[in-house]
């Protein structure tokens, strides 16, 4: 059940496991998990939108906004701590959605998907033309400190990983609570029957808007974390193929659990790494076949494996 104490405990255990596993993992795996957590945050935002019946093909917009906010905070504002940078990334993306959402919240289905895609491509276009931001090359980001710990030595070397794990935990717990709240429950109600929601005294527009802004904030945090982990920012982060990958993760994961997007993102990152390594020219084929298999055999996403087993046991 969403919003239950059991979920909170489960997520707490997952956080603890991520913490304990850190010293045992090789550097490459640590990096992979960090990237997956960042992607998972974006997919978690898509979960919110999908529960409200909306698919956005433009989450790259908020992802890139979060990433560029980190870069600019570090280079221009002198804001050096990664934790603050990530917070700023999330806020910047949410602020962007707070403005665009005024228009976006009026659209549904393919029109919503395409309009969000259009906005992300506008940002892409602007970034490519901005010489001050490195145009197509983007620019590098250095992690100085995380929560005051020097990122080059000791525990600080796990800083971005730890920050990602904490952000993912906080987001998953927060969104789980939100989904169980009266406002959060209106998302699926809007998906099912907008007319009735209005006739129950709530604003459909308002519900969509809140979900949009939350989803953007999550994507911003995801983008910020990715920028810190990769150490580089470029306009590709706003490109539609990046947004498409987030939708891929969201569909792979399903909408029944807040933990699912993180699992889905991890599987995607693993799959992509191996596919690129073993089939450098045809790796997209592997991804496409996986997607097809999930849609055919697990239409409610990976998480339904756990659910159907539980139902059979009961």
């Amino acid at each position: 059940m969403i919003g239950s104490r059991r979920n909170f405990v489960g997520l707490g255990i997952a956080l603890l496991a991520l913490g304990l596993a850190a010293p045992l993992m090789p550097r490459w795996l640590l990096s992979l998990v960090t990237i997956a957590l960042g992607q998972g945050l974006v997919a978690l935002g898509l979960l919110l939108l999908m529960r409200a019946g909306l698919v956005s093909f433009g989450q790259g917009l908020y992802f890139a906004t979060g990433a560029y906010a980190v870069g600019l905070a570090s280079e221009r504002l002198g804001l050096k701590d990664a934790a603050l940078q990530v917070l700023l990334g999330g806020l910047a993306a949410a602020a962007m959605a707070a403005v665009l959402g005024l228009l976006l919240a009026r659209y549904r289905a393919i029109f919503f998907a395409m309009l969000s895609l259009a906005f992300s491509m506008i940002l892409y276009g602007i970034l490519v033309k901005s010489a001050a931001l490195g145009s197509t090359d983007g620019f590098g980001v250095t992690v100085h400190s995380v929560f005051g710990l020097d990122a080059r030595e000791g525990l600080g070397r796990y800083g971005v990983y730890g920050l990602s794990a904490l952000s993912a935990f906080a987001a998953a717990v927060g969104i789980d609570r939100f989904l169980g709240s009266y406002l959060g429950r209106l998302g699926p109600a809007v998906r099912d029957n907008e007319l009735r929601v209005e006739y129950m005294g709530a604003s459909v527009h308002g519900v969509v808007y809140v979900n949009l802004v939350l989803a953007a904030g999550l994507a911003g945090v995801g983008g910020a974390l990715t920028a810190l982990e990769v150490g580089h920012i470029d306009p590709e982060m706003a490109y539609w193929t990046t947004s498409g990958e987030f939708v891929f993760v969201a569909i792979l994961s399903g909408t029944s659990s807040v933990a699912a997007p993180f699992l889905g993102a991890f599987l995607l990152v693993l799959l992509r790494s191996y596919a690129k390594q073993h089939a450098p020219n045809t790796w997209q084929l592997v991804m496409g076949a996986t997607m097809l298999a999930v849609i055919l055999f697990l239409p409610e996403g990976l998480w339904s494996i756990f659910r159907s087993r539980k139902r059979r046991a009961a």
């Binding site: 406002l183 099912d192 209005e198 006739y199 129950m200 005294g201």
Partner: protein, 258 residues
Amino acid sequence: MSAILESRGLTKTFGAVTAARDISVAIEEDTVVGLIGGNGAGKTTFLNLVTGYLKPTSGTVWFDGRDITGVASRRITRMGICRSFQIPQIFESLTTWENLLVGLGIVAMGRKAFVGSHLGSARPEQVADEMLERFHLGAYRDEPASVLPEGMRKLLDIAMALAVKPRILLLDEPTSGVSADEKFALMDLVLTAIRAERVTVLFVEHDMDIVRRYTQRLLAFYDGRVIADGETAEVLANAEVRKLVVGEPAAEEQEGAC
């Protein structure tokens, strides 16, 4: 008694079609009023106009002494005018319990915005369970609404309207799609539940037995006009109503026929 809901000269045209013409009616507080009329007589249009779903071409709607013409249906709901639907408008993928919790949650979130909210200190989750029992829907609590049989869908639809704390409830054909031997039981159940909270009721109905049994006052519509408005027995005896709405030809015509 004072009028809780009143329409004055309400007219609605869709292009060349006039769906409502000069409808002036007043519904007194704490009563059960029926509304009859053939297909296309303007019954549902009237409900749509009163609840803000449609904007009238001319005329006004008054609720509790306030002009609410042109106010959005969301706000009208919050004032205390709620409705059920001829074709149940429920949240198909949510469970029966969750369907009720949507409305109760909305009330809980905006306690101040709802006039006459009598949720009190009770938790919405608890109230949802109580309502399910009262509407005999307890057995379907955790089933998705999409699997409910038609009669249960009707009940849920009405319970959902009641969940948002109406002062007047507009029921659009509560017994349509319900089998003949279930309809009285359904109406008993619904009206007992609604009247326990002293909610005023206006219901659209095709079934004259239902109307005769449950209403004190009756409105009859034909071709977008009010052709009769009065005590139920009187309206049902009215020659024009018998001819145009009930469908029984008047006595002299019957003789002339064949």
